[in-house]
């Protein structure tokens, strides 16, 4: 498809077609997602040899398998015989081998073809156990960073270390908040389908101009509820405390700051966040000080990005040990997953806080998330209108400084993070 991205991305504005055009969505799969590092999962999901977990990368079904030697391999979830998915979407567990449920072809954990039932029928071909043609197809590249698994489907694209570099300190911060220095997946995963283009979610996570408008009613209703009666317990008090900052002022969010770097990565906050006012469990503080010392503990807990984006599929919240990942389905359909992490070595109250935040805010029955979704639905509908072709991204144009770490910083409500995303998007989409 001929695609003139220079006509779609202009200084301070983008064309509505980037959100609404099915051809552009299809091109994104090939040019952006297949060549980007995508989130597969976390190695704590598959700790033992034979543990498997399935997911989708750029709409491709894949299987991650823990090998007997301890490393992890990632294969396309497709039998080499007739093409059936070896494991159903969402499947996980432990297997001695992978057996196709259709005709019984069996693969080893390493993807090698082990068994072809009634194999004599293939005597005239090269198909036989152990043959290269029959082995499961490995995914292009797989990298593990402190337990997090990332994959890239195509060989072309950025080097992993280069790609992670702009947000590595923030990801490290999320992991370092665990006294033991490692996280593990815990508490289930939320999956919900948003009826919108994937970009709305990513822009929203860094959009500091919307909380005081979209979430004002949730925040104010919680504040009123907290004033009319004493909380029934400390959990309820914590929940109300979580909702209150969503109606914070423009200056609060401006002061929070934002940072952005190469590959479209960026984050909101750092100087502060809406999570900065959470009470610190004394037992957690003690565990952190025991692990890191007081000075380093203050440094770790004092750096609190609100939302950090590893473009184009990952958003994580270091202060609450949570990661959200998008799985684009169609130009106007996006599956969003929210994963939660136990901070190893921390008291259970930290995981409880993470799960409570997700229940209240991220759940499709939450008191916050559905209002964001409504905004996305109306954005998707509004941008189909021919009333105007352009979406404005010019706020605080030119007000950008270097932070000394290779990133650029701007006021929290700046559109700079979005302009940075579209610069990366345009670079990727210009490739053929």
């Amino acid at each position: 498809m001929s695609l003139d991205v220079t006509a779609l991305i202009q200084p301070g504005k983008v064309h509505r077609r980037v959100y609404t055009c099915a051809d552009i969505f299809d091109a994104e799969q090939e040019r952006l997602f297949r060549k980007s590092w995508l989130y597969v999962g976390h190695d704590s999901q598959i700790p033992e040899a034979g543990d498997v977990v399935t997911t989708r990368l750029a709409n491709e079904p894949v299987i991650a398998i823990r090998q007997r030697g301890g490393d992890i391999q990632l294969f396309y979830n497709r039998c080499k015989h007739k093409g059936m998915q070896l494991l159903a979407d969402g499947a996980s567990g432990n297997v001695p081998a992978l057996r196709c449920g259709y005709h019984g072809w069996i693969y080893g954990l390493d993807g090698a073809l082990k068994t072809i039932p009634a194999a004599t029928g293939y005597d005239d071909s090269a198909l036989r156990p152990g043959c290269a043609e029959g082995a499961l197809t490995p995914v292009g590249a797989l990298e593990t960073y402190r337990g997090f698994l990332f994959a890239r489907l195509e060989s072309g694209g950025p080097d992993f270390a280069d790609w992670l570099a702009p947000m590595r300190a923030s990801l490290d911060n999320m992991i370092d908040r665990a006294p033991a220095g490692r996280l593990s997946v815990a508490g289930g995963v939320l999956r919900y389908e948003h009826k919108c283009n994937w970009k709305f979610f990513f822009e929203n996570t860094l959009d500091a101009l919307h909380p005081m408008v979209v979430h004002n009613s949730s925040s104010k209703a919680a504040q009123r509820a907290g004033k009319t009666s004493d909380p029934v317990d400390s959990d309820e008090a914590r929940a109300l405390n979580m909702l209150a900052p969503f109606s914070a002022s423009y200056s609060f969010f401006d002061d929070m700051g934002q940072r952005a770097g190469a590959f479209g990565h960026g984050e909101l906050g750092g100087k502060s966040s809406i999570h900065a006012g959470y009470d610190v469990d004394p037992a957690y503080w003690e565990a952190m000080v025991a692990a890191y010392g007081e000075e380093r503990t203050k440094e770790i807990l004092g750096f609190g990005p609100n939302n950090s984006v590893l473009y184009p599929t990952i958003m994580f919240k270091a202060p609450v040990a949570m990661l959200r990942v998008i799985r684009p389905i169609a130009v106007d359909r996006t599956m969003i997953e929210t994963w939660h992490f136990r901070m190893e070595g921390a008291p259970d109250t930290l995981l409880e806080q993470t799960l409570q935040y997700s229940t209240i805010v991220n759940s499709s029955a939450g008191i916050v998330g559905p209002d964001d979704h409504e905004a996305y639905i109306r954005l998707q509908a509004g941008l189909k209108s021919q009333g105007s072709d352009w979406v404005i991204l010019s706020r605080y144009a030119g007000q950008v400084e270097k932070d000394g770490n290779g990133l650029q910083i701007a006021p929290g409500t700046s559109d700079f993070v979005f302009r940075n995303q579209y610069a990366a998007w345009a670079d990727a989409m210009a490739q053929t």
């Binding site: 389908e193 009666s229 309820e236 799960l355 997700s358 229940t359 759940s363 499709s364 029955a365 409504e374």
Partner: protein
């Protein structure tokens, strides 16, 4: 108190929700009463696993304020729902359970929002406490059939 009184209470509860009589509905809960919609049917706690909803008194108050005033993007257009109860069964709670009656039912809720009707199915359980002013809800637990996968928004209580 009798089993039929317990069944009557959950029928009345559904009617109050169906008619958006929010304050009367909320008054059915004991002061420590909770509304819980787990993510998974095998979930045993809201603390060690994420839920779709876990509302105690103040969180219910916040949610009901929004619903009553239609203040919130997702609820500013009319949201209505009808809950159909079936297989309603009530039994005395086990000794030392901390409540007096256990009621269970299958519930189908049709939610009208954004100009469309969506249907949710759930197994629902109530823990009811006998008090001087009658039976009160200590816990209402609604286990959705499809809580774990690809949900759209649930804007009211099942």
């Amino acid at each position: 108190m009798s089993a039929s009184a317990a069944c009557d209470l959950v029928a009345q509860e559904a009617w109050l929700l169906n008619t958006a009589a929010w304050d009367e509905w909320d008054a059915l809960f004991s002061p420590s009463g909770a509304y819980w919609m787990p993510l998974s049917m095998d979930q045993t706690s809201h603390k060690d696993h994420v839920s779709l909803m876990y509302d105690t008194r103040a969180l219910r108050a916040a949610r009901l304020t929004r619903l009553k005033t239609q203040d919130g993007l997702s609820i500013e257009t009319p949201v209505r729902a009808i809950r159909h109860l079936s297989n309603v069964q009530a039994a005395p709670a086990a000794e030392n359970a901390g409540y007096d009656w256990h009621v269970r039912a299958a519930v189908m809720m049709a939610q009208y929002a954004r100009g469309q009707v969506e249907t949710f199915h759930a197994l629902v359980q109530w823990h009811l406490q006998a008090t001087a002013s009658g039976l009160m809800i200590e816990l209402k637990r609604a286990d959705l059939l499809n809580g774990e996968g690809g949900l759209s928004d649930i804007l009211v209580y099942v």
